[in-house]
Symmetry: C2
Subunit: 351 residues, 2 copies
DNA sequence: AATTTAAATCGAAACGCTTCGACTAAGCGC
DNA sequence: GCGCTTAGTCGAAGCGTTTCGATTTAAATT
């Protein structure tokens, strides 16, 4: 593999001159530039990133702190980071995937090893030790999501509180009054998950304002727990005619529980969730949902980080994207007077 | 950030001694080792990867050559590489995500920049220029998938030919005789996609052996084309009672086309595909499918590469995983004599 | 024509590590 | 007691860049 010295020799100039041609840090005469470029082309020279990084502290490598296994890997997360990867690649950065198994220690290691210039965090908690640590270190990073106190940090997040309200409101306008909410567990408090907490707030607020019962069940994120929780909701509230849930991972177990009750969606039972369109359209029936702008968030998150790294902005950009309802085929009208299919069935069965 | 020199000074030894303590390349007395380790701990020292890599040519960074946009990002692919990422992380490697937009040139750049020790390829074609280039360079890599000629390369692949046969056979045993196949386009020939070609071979072979009509439609991988192709199949062959398709990306458009015909799955129409379980279980109804062992393939692929890098094996390992059918709820029995729902409907409508 | 200024280039010192050759002080056989 | 090995350590030379004076050359100013 040719080095810069080879190029310099071939072009008959000093190594530093070659470097200046490449970086543009100092003026170089046109004639010299031509000769150097020719030599580079002839030799098939590529600068060595390690050496460059060692000398200049700039590696053009960004790490994506990837959520570990707990919550499972969701379709939305896939979209987040394939979008992020795309932007990084366009801007000439390489993307390092970092699965943060080992907690804080691991992330510090990453920052100290010198390979990575900046970090993009996903699955940020309200009190996130990673964020504290990075802040203390003054290490450059941006977030998809946000903590409770985000002074001086760039982030892009989604307005889950409004999103849930929109779900509820839509169902309410369709005539539903008994709406169940199935939301991720927001505990443990000290590191609670923002979207869960904010969803709870939104749901409670809407139900109080609308004067309808606040029916809620929180569950762990795994399939099994979600499945049980859905069944428990349906058991405990026979008057339910609709359900709101908040993630693509809940989709399968929730729908299964509903089907097992012989409730048809949307004829007997309405369902709204917060999903990326790609996923919502894959379901049968296609699900009416709040559009989770996963691709947009991935793009913006990466863009924010890169801008910060390149020093274009000193003031952090903080963005909370507004929700938008996309009506598909998982909800139906329910009037006040009408007896729900479920109630009718219970009645027939003599319960 | 402390350097090795700082550690050496603190421990009262030479820099090289610190290096030997860390690498074990030469014997170090127990007393010295203790002192060095203490100094490292006190200073919170972490070796700089760039410097290490520059001096030693070992970076512990692996790149995953990530499929570009054409085929879209599928759930299976997500599983491939989150599995790969997991293994890499366990073995102390960092995973660089590389979206191969710029074709061959890009990949060469990656190899020449010195950052990356080895490559894991996904979405390998039968004749893959990337593979040719890497082979010519003698650059270490492994594949998920395989080309036509794989001499000297480690890979893990899935037996798509047998997989399709298993699909067909299962449907055949349920009594289906008119089975449609919806498969990715295997052209252009010069870089054809292995799974597509092998699926075609498998399907044709089974149909010939079983003496049933060989009903097939190839389509591009995008949603729209798949949707049209599914409709065309259903149009052209009114006697169809079952369909086989090969990827999670086809799922939504295929199911939608089927639903639009007012065919119920599985009562009126049976469906089998090749999917990771996680995905198959998310559908409504859960899909009977050949299990695509995506996680296993990701694990093994990465493991093969790392073994190769660490010199444990000189002989390449080549693995083709066998298919396994998982019965869920998307297929139903069809007897010879029974008139299909669809035929019955056509009849009623006087066609 | 003498002097100042700017453009273009060079040489060498980092950057933080690995690795090689050399040196010292033991331990060993004879 | 003499050379011989070997464990343990050190110093210094890279690895391939960037970057900072310093130097040379050409152009501009007086």
């Amino acid at each position: 593999m040719p080095t810069m010295a080879d190029v310099a020799r071939r072009a008959g100039v000093a190594v530093s001159t070659v470097s200046y041609v490449l970086s543009g840090a100092r003026p170089v005469s046109e004639r010299t530039r031509q000769r150097v470029m020719a030599a580079i082309a002839e030799l098939g020279y590529h600068p060595n990133i390690l050496a460059r990084g060692l000398a200049s502290k700039r590696t053009r490598v960004i790490a994506l702190l990837f959520p570990s296994g707990t919550r499972g890997l969701s379709h939305d997360q896939l979209e987040f980071f394939s979008a992020a990867a795309e932007v990084a690649s366009q801007r000439g950065y390489a993307l390092l995937l970092w699965t943060t198994l080992g907690g804080d220690a691991e992330i510090l290691r990453l920052t100290e090893e010198g390979l990575v210039e900046g970090l993009l965090l996903m699955e940020v908690r309200l009190h996130d030790p990673r964020v504290e640590a990075l802040k203390a270190l003054g290490y450059p990073f941006a977030m998809i999501g946000r903590t409770e106190c985000n002074d001086g940090i760039s982030y892009v997040d989604f307005d889950f509180e409004q999103a849930i309200r929109l779900c509820d409101q839509y169902l309410y306008e369709l005539g539903h009054r008994h709406i169940a909410h199935l939301i991720y567990s927001p505990v443990p408090i000290e590191q609670s998950y923002g979207p869960a907490v904010r969803s709870l707030v939104g749901a409670r607020a809407f139900c109080e304002e609308a004067g309808i019962p606040y029916i809620i069940r929180v569950s762990e994120a795994d399939i099994e727990a979600t499945y049980r929780a859905a069944h428990e909701l349906l058991d405990s509230y026979p008057s339910l005619t609709a359900m709101v849930f908040v993630s693509d991972l809940q989709c399968a177990p929730v729908m299964q529980a509903i089907h097992e009750r012989r409730l048809r969606v949307p004829e007997d039972f309405s369902v709204v969730s917060i999903l990326s369109s790609r996923f919502a359209e894959m379901m049968a029936p296609p699900l009416t949902a709040i559009e989770l702008p996963a691709v947009e968030m991935g793009h913006i998150g990466m863009e924010l980080l890169i801008r910060y790294l390149e020093g274009d902005e000193c003031v952090p950009t903080q963005l909370v994207l507004p929700p938008r309802l996309v009506v598909r085929q998982s909800c139906s009208v329910r009037t006040h007077t009408e007896l729900s299919m479920q109630e009718a069935k219970c009645f027939q069965e003599g319960r």
